[in-house]
Symmetry: C2
Subunit: 162 residues, 2 copies
């Protein structure tokens, strides 16, 4: 009987499944999103988070944290989104160091028109594969992990508007 090697540890298997499920899903969804709406997952993620926020705006720092991006990386993403007309920067009156990223009307239309098809895709590749019970259990488990390792994700509400 063969010895179990550490490289076959079952914990690696579970982690591997998480990584692979995530990677596969992101790949498939981004391909579809790109062809259907011309949006990358990164752009979609930015615009979706802005759309969900009061006033459709978020501080650059908060948005960067939500996207697991450095503030440097976010600066460049917002540069491109601004050039495309989907987002614009707004200065923060009460703290002149900071700025907001705000969804433009064009950006709001864009995300809203892209959303229905994206939800269909999400159903097809992910949601519909699971039973109601599996979905609830999965959400609970993922939330535990997320809360433990995702520092600023969606926990922080948006700052008080200034």
């Amino acid at each position: 009987m063969a010895m179990a090697s550490p490289v076959d540890d079952e914990r690696l298997t579970l982690a591997g499944l998480l990584f692979e499920a995530n990677a596969g899903l992101v790949n498939e969804l981004s391909k579809r999103l790109e062809t259907e709406s011309g949006l990358s997952t990164q752009w979609f993620g930015v615009m979706l988070r802005l759309a969900r926020s009061p006033g459709q705006r978020l501080r650059m720092t908060d948005l960067a944290a939500q996207l697991t991006l450095t503030s440097s990386g976010l600066t460049r993403v917002v540069d491109r989104l601004e050039e495309a007309g989907y987002v614009r920067r707004e200065t923060c009156p009460s703290d002149r160091r900071g700025s907001y990223a705000a969804l433009t009307p064009s950006g709001k239309r864009k995300i809203e028109s892209a959303l229905p098809k994206h939800l269909d895709d999400l159903d097809e590749c992910f949601i519909s594969l699971l039973t109601d019970r599996e979905r609830r259990d999965l959400e609970k488990a993922l939330r535990k992990v997320r809360d433990a390792v995702y520092p600023q994700g969606l926990v922080n509400g948006p700052r008080a508007a200034c």
Copy 2:
């Protein structure tokens, strides 16, 4: 009572939890892996997959698929791993177009010395947060998703050695 907007759809929430749990975990584990062993998650992933394979080798194409990388991307990763002495290329005698990536003895020592601490990290950030039952359920759910969207992941056994 407020209308539910599509941007608040619960399916987006579940998908977002998957993305955020994954991103948070990768970030945390890669930081630790880097400081403890000087390995990136990419290098670790390559070496782990080679270590798990018969003969500690894999065809470049198969390895690329397992890592969700283009063959172009894998070529460059293996270039760097070869330069570090952890991996070497071997030509395939029966099909001279192809080549193998093979773990060197140095690479094998490296991954084996990095593994115990990495497993501890994995426990701390992920595995130990869940009950046995939650782990089993999570594995089942993730496997369904993975199998649906991860084309060549770990499904294909390695090709017959030539």
